[in-house]
Subunit: 481 residues, 2 copies
């Protein structure tokens, strides 16, 4: 059976038949449609793709010319080949591509990554800061003055620039974490920190406990190396510790991944008392923790409780932070804080992965901290983002009041919208994409969730937020009918 | 049996007994010495480490205080624990560290990585360009003028900055490679390219054919993911194709890794005819190629023959290049060129690894190409490096004439020295380190090679090259006696 839940996009700057060719090639590459498969009739295909039959004929001609399909006088068209020339490549790489170690990204994420660069898109999907949230002038000033006499152009130490690590120590003190430079590893964004942990500390069959829903479900980092994600139910204050306790059996190589502050996607902030309780539980069980804390600085009224790492007296917590969310994603600067022996191990893997992060970026980041611009910028940022959140909430009140409920985030970049009734999220995603609205459907964060949407207000204009939410409500209503 | 082929370094700014404590802890962490193991007597340890007995007593006291060993009145001291406090960490991470997926670096490489930052070291080990070889003023000029209005501070497209990819296309044309921006992925240095290939295209049990000796032996990238390295004998003109043909049986997922230009470590340049022959062989066999070409621009008299990629009409070659060797390692900019479908796969893995390389670095690199400074700089670089090579050759003629032979490199940063008689390379490495000379012993490049040393002339002053080679000859002579 052919399941085709995708349609070419008429607004996309590529002929419809070539979009269809691309789709079919992808299906074959992904081995979803194998050699020998008989394609449906042209009439059926036209219906499935919602295009004219002439478009299907053009697509079939193209695929036949590339030697991928063959028409049969006895009726029907078959897939006869899975190699094709895209440039000058007759060589068949498909075996390599499909058997490579690492899993591909979720198809929707790949589509999102592609669509991100469309300038007409209303980007309510990923949580990238809009350029007006990035302190461009401050950074420009630093670049003008930066002395590149030696360090910023050569390799750094295995753990990263000492200048930057010292500055991060000073910063960490302000949020309650006592660390020395040897217990910090500079990474290329917080995401790389997770990859290094998965490569350096976990093994196939390690269990990664996580909140359900969780941002981690949208990544393939852990699963690609054979680890198992085990979702723990979520309650108003965060992860349900009792349930975690019930599920936590095998201790060999397991770890807890948690986002206690502005939890992604629900926005939840774990209260101080519960943080203490969680640390206590993990200490008792000998269960180490990965604490993802990348949204901490983006709070609106009150600063959040101290991170788990600040309450950790036993070196149980690996703290993952960075500046991509609140300052500049393009610098690609993040950090892991943990026991020295763990940091030594992870820095060795980092050296083997990319021989360290950009020295230039590290030095610019260090100057941002050292000059006080980091702190100053965060204060401005909070005010700007609060206006965005309020605009989103106003639009939700106007358009979603009857059909959904949502949280009021106290910080971070997103709202977790819960529809009153389930709908096909993939359909909504594609329809929204066609109307140039990019969202993250909830099933990226919770397997088969068909009632949630994560709406980000960080990378749009105020007008776009209102407009995007309005369009989205229309599409949801359409699907509910 | 205790094999201790390491001794504390009297010149190192750390008390001898703490160096010994560190060494023993490392042995336990690496599970080379397990719990329950009985340590030799203090007298024997003193002899093995070549220190006074009082130093051993101090080291044992420290280890006992940390609860790692326990003295026994019935005689002997045992390892009783493998957890210890390094900072505030009572938690035992050792299980995680030792069972993590990725292999640690070669112990010597870890030592080298640490020693690199010692300012008194004569660095004839790694092939990092000295700061005088980096065009600091040119880059400073670019930073002053760089407009960070938007792109350099936000995320880039999955394949990297289009501006940079276009510039790389133009550059590639000058060395005979026709590529379009979609067939290029920007990586954080060439090394990351290899990791992405191992994660994205190969699987456990894939066979990686490589020259013997090869730089690749010094990395753990492929082995960590279960791939098997299979060394092919080397001849004057490069890899022995006949031998490759004999060994190449299993075709499933195998790949050839080769450095045809200024081969690392031998400096060999594969002649054009042989390049054609190799491409022909691989086409016939359907064996894809990773071509590592990072030293290409550093030639002295004549530019080398075109890369294999320029001769590849079938999309068989994945070309790995970068600017770390000839321009600035700190920018961490490299690239992979290959068929679009392969690049799409690798860029997806890259997005999952670190969400792209530093945009700031990418934009600086693009400006270097666009302004013509890249080309201009390479011309200056070649002249400077040639003087270094000549200085090294003069010193070798003076000090090694009787005890070794070597190649005269036509480009690149290193000389492959072959001693007339085998010696313990590890001993030589440690002794040289004690005299502040850092070398790469040949066994990093060829398993159990005890007759070769790779001498790099890129990261020393001219006086240091002569001095370092002189010291080295003394140490070799000492060991030959």
């Amino acid at each position: 059976m052919f399941e085709i839940n995708w349609r070419p996009d008429k607004t996309y700057p590529m002929p419809l038949h070539l979009q269809i060719v691309g789709y079919i090639k992808e299906k074959i590459t992904l081995n979803e449609w194998s050699i020998g498969t008989k394609l449906p009739s042209q009439r059926t295909l036209a219906k499935l793709f919602a295009v004219n039959r002439s478009t299907i004929i053009a697509a079939m001609d193209e695929l036949a010319a590339e030697g991928i399909i063959q028409g049969n006088t006895g009726g029907g068209t078959k897939i006869i080949n899975n190699t094709w020339n895209l440039m000058n490549k007759n060589y068949n790489w498909n075996g390599y591509i499909s058997s490579g170690n690492h899993q591909p990204n979720h198809m929707i994420i790949q589509q999102i990554n592609e669509a991100e660069s469309d300038p007409e898109m209303i980007r309510m999907g990923s949580c990238e800061p809009a350029s007006e949230l990035i302190p461009q002038e401050k950074i420009q000033g630093i670049l003008k003055k930066l002395s590149v006499s030696s360090q910023p152009l050569g390799y750094e130490e295995p753990r990263g620039s000492l200048f930057l690590r010292k500055e991060i120590c000073n910063y960490l003190k302000t949020i309650g974490i006592v660390a020395n430079p040897s217990s910090i590893l500079i990474t290329s964004g917080a995401l790389q920190g997770l990859q290094l942990i998965s490569l350096g500390l976990l093994h196939a069959n390690s269990i990664v406990y996580l909140e359900k829903p969780s941002y981690l479900y949208s990544l393939r980092t852990f699963q690609s190396f054979g680890m198992q994600l085990l979702g723990i139910p979520f309650e108003e204050t965060g992860i349900n510790i009792k349930k975690l306790s019930e599920r936590h059996k095998s201790k060999q190589g397991s770890i807890l991944f948690t986002i206690p502050t502005f939890h992604n996607p629900t926005g939840t902030v774990m209260p101080l008392e519960k943080r203490k309780e969680l640390i206590h539980f993990c200490e008792k069980e000998g269960l180490p923790i990965i604490e993802d804390d990348v949204y901490r600085e983006i709070w609106f009224e009150d600063s959040p409780p101290p991170p788990l790492k600040a309450l950790d007296n036993n070196g149980l917590v690996l703290y993952v932070g960075g500046i991509s969310k609140n300052l500049s994603p393009g610098l690609r600067i993040g950090w892991i804080v943990g026991p020295e022996q763990v940091i030594a191990r992870l820095s060795d893997i980092k050296m083997q992965s990319d021989y360290g992060s950009s020295s230039l970026s590290q030095n610019v980041a260090a100057e941002l901290f050292a000059s006080g611009l980091y702190k100053e910028h965060n204060e401005i940022l909070r005010k700007k983002v609060k206006v965005r959140r309020d605009t989103a909430l106003t639009a939700l009140n106007e358009h979603f009041n009857e059909i959904a409920t949502w949280n009021i985030p106290k910080g971070g970049y997103f709202i977790w919208l819960k529809l009153n009734y389930p709908i096909s999220m993939y359909q909504l995603f594609v329809k929204a994409l066609n109307r140039k609205v990019l969202i993250h459907p909830g099933d990226l964060y919770e397997f088969r969730s068909n009632q949630h949407i994560r709406i980000s207000y960080s990378n749009t204009t105020l007008a776009e937020i209102s407009q995007g939410i309005k369009i989205l409500s229309e599409l949801v209503l359409e699907q509910l009918q």
